[in-house]
Amino acid sequence: MKRVVITGIGAVSPLGADVPAMISGIEAGKSAVRHMDGWDQYIGLRSLVGAPAKLVNEKAIPRVSRRSMGRMSKFSVQAAEQAISDAGIDRALLTSGRMGCIIGSTMGSAESLNETFEIMIPDKDLTKLPSTKFFQCVSHTAAMNTAQYLGITGYVLATSAACASALQAIGAGCDLIRLGKQDAVLCGGAEELHPTVTGSFDILFATSSGYNDKPEQTPRPFDAKRDGLVCGEGSGILLIEEYEHALKRNAKIYAEIIGYHTCGSGVHVSQSSKDSMAACFRQTLADANINANEVDYINAHATATIHGDKEEAGAIREVFGDQAPVSSLKGYMGHTLGASGSIELIASLIMMEKGCIYPTLNLESVSPECNGILHVTEKLTKKINILIKNCFAFGGINASIICKKDIK
């Protein structure tokens, strides 16, 4: 099988419009979580916090491309442009049929879906619907808009597995390259913040609602006072490439993707399962052909839900013990859902590049049920050769990716 390397990264996150802005925000210990004005009009919505991303210079996208894009597709296009420019690929590759585009999200644009229903439902009238609403609402909106905008003619796919969407997109891209079906794939996830999205978690009591007046103190991954997740938005896109292809053009290589696995829990649609998470870790390690003790850093999913964090900590404890440092980035950017896997993998690659580990923001007192793993609560200087990034989604979907820096 062919080998896969990461040669380009791009992100629009709650901390800023590109990767350097995100990293400087994390390094400053900044929280992007805000009180969401106007959300209190929704009856029953308890969580009034979110981590919005700023859409900058959207008119730089020509109208004919922009008209079919909801907010998440605009984030995705901007992050993709960054990744392509970072990778320095010849633009001819985009239209060669040998480059694909796989971008996942929980669903289509929430804002556009809401607008569609607002137009259609009051008078049961379809004649008022603009032609492009459909393209903003479909599940593959970020993938197809990004591919169309860039002229990509290879595989165009959209993974849709809620919070595991981005990692599944990267994993699917990885598989295509391993099999020799594509030379490069632009892949990742995109998501947008909307009261209907936060509301879908809120009705399940999975959101944070006790910090509405002190938003920067939530979410609190692994902390004893955690009370749920906070939704965020943005997009993280990586350019992954066949190893020899990258070598030939003398590309900068961030890391090799040496392991990937995704699996279902077969247990429950919303309750995370420690055993199933641990099984996913073991399969990913097997795919990478390494032992658990070779992993230098674990970038946790850890969204700060009571149950999810407990299960993930338990699975990490069981498979990796207490030697590998663990941190979650949700405290800085909230949970960017379908984009979280790629946004947080990109931040992890920067940690790998810089030889440091960013701590879990808002982790002040480790919850007893999350003990027994090596939590990072202050910035740690450490050489990272191998890291694992985890994502766990509603629907009982698990996904993990292992990256390695030293490539022979």
């Binding site: 109208r63 004919v64 008209r67 079919s68 004649t127 008022k128 619907l129 603009p130 032609s131 492009t132």
Partner: protein, 93 residues
């Protein structure tokens, strides 16, 4: 509503919905070749004109013959005149 009102409101649709500069909005302009609209834009043009003028034109066969901005002005003007004569007819009845 005067002919000038119709021209101005139609031009507003092109500025607001299709981001076309005012200077380009001349009656002889072909909406496809000169102003860059495509099949999706035509759907949105109909929605926007219906909204702007409070009319129902989605199933009007004359839409298929529209090529220039002037054709749209004339189409709306014709609708207005038809409406006036219809109203006059109703009054006679």
């Amino acid at each position: 509503m005067t002919e000038q009102d119709i021209i101005e409101l139609t031009n507003q649709v092109f500025e607001e919905s299709f981001e076309i500069e005012k200077e380009l909005l001349k009656p002889e302009m072909n909406i496809f070749q000169d102003l860059g609209l495509d099949s999706l834009d035509v759907v949105d043009l109909v929605v926007a004109l219906q909204e702007k003028f409070g009319i129902k034109i989605r199933n009007d066969e004359r839409l298929k013959t529209i090529r220039s901005l002037g054709d749209i002005y004339n189409f709306i003007l014709a609708l207005k005149e038809e409406n006036l004569s219809l109203n006059a007819l109703h009054k006679q009845e």
